[in-house]
């Protein structure tokens, strides 16, 4: 009744693709008879980073809706002006995104072998790392300024939300810095994969966009 | 022979010395009170000047069991309890100044009982010494919760726990001097006090009379505390074995 058409093609090892640890599904099907779907999936790191971006977005969406509800629910909301250092830190963060993009391109080119022998591709990563630290330090200065003004976490819902949003964001930025350090260490050990670099870069840019969103939110609503 | 006499004397004196040491030791161990001068007491009455304020009735209708208990004996607030001859009940009297040493730190061994009866506290005010154990009991067929609300700054730790019908008594003690309001959240009208003081204390009966026992001789300030009217003080001097008198009068507001 049934007929065996051929020996099952076995794959020795799925991870032969250079920079991707995507599944064997990326391989082109060997047989024409079967209804195989050719579907080039990205390596898991890049879908994973979208998962992270989505989860973090949901979290800040929850905070945002809390802010709107809380502001609408009562009359005790006191506005205050944002510490001006925040504009400086915003610029720093944007600059860090730019430097990271430069670093990403250079490292990618370096890995492809286009620019062998050129300057240390890690340099721009260090610049990014430095700018990231400056950003977090700047946020810290902003909190100190508010404290000096007598605005603590529990002083008013506006200050509560300010601390809540900025601290949560800063913690996520620290996570991104951890990612960059991880990339650096992999780079130095020569085991960096491109998708890891791309994923960290995406996360970092996301932190950037998230911060701009938060700044606008705080500017308009606080 | 003289030497023999001497040795006898020596033996006797050694024996005496031993006896003294033993006696002293046992004295110190048993805290034999004969060693101190005989203790006196402070007595008196607390009265209310003016007409007693109207004590509102309590509507217990949220708990039919409580209503049933008061079918023939309507309950009312006990903020001010006035007996015959305007005697003021539930006034706590204690020595606020002048006590020292053992008299201050002695802990009575008696265990006062705070009963929850017919959805009211009996007694309404329970006086006790710092560190003295007391019991909270329930005689009711409905559950109560005991919720003392001390000021957290005094060092007394608030607690809140239920006592269903038939539950064993709760034994507790307090760490610091404080007049602690106690309430039952299930029956919001239930209100009472734990009066935590240091040293000997007394509480007036319905006729307003009181007696503070076991007061060593000395000069003291006696404080009378009433939950609505607050504190009053008086100076008294107690002689050994004698009874000193201190009367108080609170003015009705």
């Amino acid at each position: 009744m049934a007929t065996t058409i051929h020996e099952p093609p076995q794959i020795d090892h799925p991870h032969t693709d250079d920079f991707s640890n995507g599944g064997g599904r990326n391989l082109i099907p060997a047989d024409g008879d079967l209804r195989l779907t050719i579907d080039h999936s990205p390596p898991p790191t890049s879908s994973a980073i979208w998962v992270v971006v989505f989860a973090v977005s949901m979290m800040f969406a929850a905070f945002t809706s809390a802010l709107f509800v809380r502001k609408g629910s009562s009359l005790d909301w006191q506005s205050f002006s944002l510490p001006s250092i925040l504009y400086f830190t915003t610029l720093v963060l944007i600059a860090s995104s730019v430097t990271l993009e430069i670093a990403r391109r250079r490292i990618t080119a370096f890995m492809r072998g286009f620019q062998t022998g050129v300057e240390n591709p890690a340099r721009w990563l260090y610049v990014t790392l430095f700018l990231g630290l400056v950003f977090v330090a700047g946020q810290y200065v902003a909190w100190l300024q508010l404290r000096a003004e007598g605005l603590y976490l529990a002083t008013n819902p506006s200050s509560s939300f300010f601390y809540l949003l900025t601290v949560t964001h800063a913690l996520h930025v620290l996570g991104g810095l951890g990612g960059i350090i991880y990339i650096l260490s992999k780079l130095h050990r020569g085991i960096l994969r491109r998708n890891q670099l791309v994923a960290s870069a995406r996360y970092w840019h996301f932190m950037d966009v998230l911060w701009i969103y938060l700044l606008l939110l705080l500017l308009m609503k606080l | 022979m003289k030497r023999q006499d001497n040795s006898k004397l020596a033996a006797v004196s050694v024996c005496l010395l031993l006896c003294l040491v033993v006696a002293g030791l046992s004295l110190s161990l048993t805290n034999w009170e004969v060693s101190a001068a005989p203790e006196g007491k402070i007595t008196g009455t607390v009265k209310l000047d003016g007409t007693a304020p109207h004590m509102k009735g309590i509507d217990m209708s949220k708990d039919p069991w409580c209503v049933k208990q008061h079918a023939n004996d309507p309950a009312h607030l006990e903020l001010v309890v006035v007996g015959k001859d305007n005697g003021l009940g539930n006034v706590v009297l204690y020595i606020s100044e002048g006590l020292s040493g053992d008299a201050l730190n002695a802990k009575p061994t008696a265990v006062p009982v705070f009963d929850q009866k017919n959805c009211l506290y009996t007694p309404h005010v329970l006086a006790m010494d710092v560190g003295q154990e007391f019991k909270v009991e329930t005689s009711d067929q409905t559950a109560h919760n005991i919720h003392p609300e001390p000021n957290p700054l005094t060092g007394n730790i608030p607690w809140n726990q239920s006592q269903p019908p038939g539950a064993p008594p709760v034994t507790k003690s307090w760490k610091a001097v404080e007049m602690i309001h106690v309430k039952c959240n299930i029956h919001p009208w239930m209100s009472g006090y734990f009066a935590v003081v240091k040293g000997p204390y007394a509480i007036t009966g319905e006729d307003g009379s009181y007696t503070i026992e076991n007061v060593p001789p000395g000069s003291y300030t006696v404080t009378a505390w009433q939950e609505t009217y607050g504190n009053q003080t008086a100076k008294v001097t107690v002689a050994g074995g004698q009874s000193a008198k201190a009367d108080f009068t609170f003015k009705a507001k």
Binding site: I11, P43, V56, V69, M111, L187 | E149, V170
Partner: protein, 594 residues
């Protein structure tokens, strides 16, 4: 500079030390079993708590021997106080919803079987996977720790409504440290499950083996994938809500606590918070959570039924789309928990219609499952019995949803035992039946040994009849208006209902005791059971293509290639009436999707 073009070695070697093998393992199979064992312990604790509550409800003044050892103030002389009843109730709900119904069908089975069913060697981020379990486990320990703080665990119910959750110990026993531990535990749980989703989604999307198109994924994989997408959204909202509540609690902020509250005669310092904000945030998580608990069950039950019916369901795609529809709709309906909460009455209407509409995909799933039985060759075994029992329970619990979806009827039924009966049937018992079915079905693959069928069937009969005896009467109580979360029925109108409560308690004690049979069966099987063959049920999906138990990398170095849809039953092949997904054999009549 180093050579950066060298491909990384993804393959991790099997660990040899005990700790790396069984405790801090990176292997998704071990992590799956760890989740399973944690859920088992949690379920036993949760069940014992429910026993204590049931005994107390039926015989209020009965002393339960030994209970005073757990809490001297909570159960003086072994008799529960009202607050300890509520504390145990809160723990029962929290443990069951989070640490059993979410972890067992989703995290436990999903971790073990999702990578195998897609033909992967492991999850893409095994370290995150390990963290996912250990963070969840820490959350569980933190929750249990609240039994041992001075005034016990929180009594606020598993929904932890504000402002009760945020005002502190003044509101009653357990509302101090107990709440903080609860919030911390749930926040940790959320992190753990987010880390789980971080692995589940890329595994399903990116690690499928050759030939495994999305529509060739078994229904279980689809269910876990949809669940992890839901978890990503739901837990990412609950965690910030917990953070806000903790801040209100310890830092004196006022997110959820309004002004001018007077608790026990003491004016609170908070100002202007919104209590409904908590409810919105909580139920935005809470309703999807119900589907997070049940969708894996739907997938598992479909998977098991198909294998035992020897035929695919009438439609593979429709089930997938329906599960997806459930997932999407579940975010639009959460307001039906808040019909009488004081939110705008117009929004009650806006939430009522999606709630009613969500019955359509649910009905489609049930109808397809039931009508696929027609003309099948149904095999009766413990797994299929529990799967069929799931359908029966899901229907019984589902129809009561018609009532609760309507705000006008909710006036009568809100916060009564009707609601309790409804969600226990549709979410708790049904999901439990899914877990049981999965255990009987997959134990051979997970533990390499066959469960005892006779004991399994006895377990099924007692559980099935018992569960109906417990939870059907809940609906009757609710119709009379028996309010839930009461520790004692002092009310006049509740007194006549006590015989019903006694009946339920007896049924609960017997049904609970019947679970000992399962426990014995499970433990006995794991150590001394009959060794299982690679494919004892003649299944087709990939988990049956590998050895029993699967090797460390699932496939012994050779990834399978997929040639067929997942459920090729009722065909004629060289092995019988089925052809396996990884078999290159071409058969005459494939069951194509219509």
């Amino acid at each position: 500079m180093h050579d950066m073009s060298a491909p990384a070695v993804h393959h991790h070697a099997p660990p040899t030390s005990f700790i790396r093998k069984h405790v801090f393992s990176l292997d998704h199979k071990v992590i799956g079993k760890q989740y399973y064992d944690m859920a088992l312990v949690a379920a036993i604790i949760g069940m014992i708590l429910s026993w204590i509550m049931r005994i107390h409800l039926a015989w209020t003044n009965a002393a339960i021997p030994g209970l005073q050892l757990l809490s001297k103030t909570g159960a003086p002389g072994g008799v529960l106080t009202p607050e300890y009843y509520l504390q145990l109730m809160t723990m029962h709900g929290t443990i069951m919803v989070f640490f059993v119904l979410t972890t067992a069908p989703f995290a436990a089975f999903g971790n073990f079987f999702l990578p195998i069913q897609v033909g992967a060697e492991d999850m893409p981020f095994p370290h995150f996977n390990m963290m996912s379990f250990w963070v969840t486990f820490t959350g569980f320990i933190v929750l249990l720790a609240s039994f041992f703080v001075s005034d016990g665990p929180t009594l606020g119910g598993w929904t932890q409504y504000a402002p009760l959750n945020a005002v502190g110990a003044i509101a009653g026993p357990g509302q101090g440290m107990g709440v903080i531990l609860w919030m911390a535990s749930i926040a940790l749980f959320c992190v753990g499950q987010l880390l789980g989703s971080l692995n589940f989604i890329p595994t399903t999307l990116d690690l499928r083996t050759k030939g495994m198109s999305l529509m060739r994924l078994p229904l279980t994989t689809w269910a876990w994938f949809i669940t992890s997408c839901m978890g990503l959204t739901a837990f990412a909202v609950l965690m910030p809500a917990c953070i806000l509540a903790i801040l209100d609690h310890v830092a004196g902020t006022s997110f959820f606590v309004p002004s001018n509250l007077v608790i026990s005669d003491q004016l609170q310092q908070h100002s202007g918070g919104s209590t409904l904000l908590w409810q919105h945030l909580f139920w935005f998580f809470g309703h999807p959570e119900v589907y997070i608990a049940i969708i894996p069950g739907i997938g598992i039950v479909s998977h098991i039924l198909i294998t035992n019916m020897r035929r695919p369901l009438l439609s593979h795609r429709v089930i997938i789309y329906s599960m997806g529809a459930l997932a999407v709709l579940s975010y639009m309906v959460y307001g039906h928990h808040m019909f009488v909460s004081g939110m705008n009455p117009y929004s009650a209407l806006a939430f009522s219609f999606p709630t009613l509409i969500i019955t359509i995909p649910a009905t489609i799933i049930v109808l397809i499952q039931i009508f696929s039985l027609y003309g099948s060759k149904l095999r009766i075994n413990s797994a299929s019995l529990f799967a069929l029992g799931f359908i029966s329970m899901f229907v019984s619990g589902g129809v009561s949803g018609f009532f609760l979806a309507q705000p006008s009827i909710d006036i009568m039924l809100h916060a009564t035992y009707f609601v309790v009966g409804h969600f226990h049937m549709v979410m708790a018992v049904a999901a439990m039946f899914g877990i049981f079915a999965g255990t009987y079905f997959w134990a051979p693959k997970m533990f390499g040994r066959m469960m005892n069928e006779t004991l399994g069937k006895i377990h099924f009969w007692l559980s099935f009849v018992g569960a109906y005896c417990i939870f059907m009467p809940f609906h009757y109580l609710g119709i009379v208006g028996n309010v839930r979360r009461y520790s004692v029925f002092v009310d006049d109108y509740l007194q006549p209902l006590l015989p019903v409560h006694k009946f339920i308690t007896v049924a609960a004690l017997l049904t609970g005791a019947a679970q000992a049979i399962f426990l014995y069966n499970l433990i006995h099987t794991r150590f001394w059971g009959k060794p299982a063959s690679d494919n004892p049920w003649e299944g087709t999906s990939l988990e049956w293509s590998t050895t029993t138990p699967p090797p460390f990398d699932n496939w012994g170095g050779k990834l399978p290639v997929v040639y067929h849809d997942p459920y090729q039953y009722g065909v004629e092949s060289s092995v019988g009436d089925y052809v396996m997904q990884a078999s290159p054999e071409q058969v005459k009549t494939e069951n194509d999707e219509q």
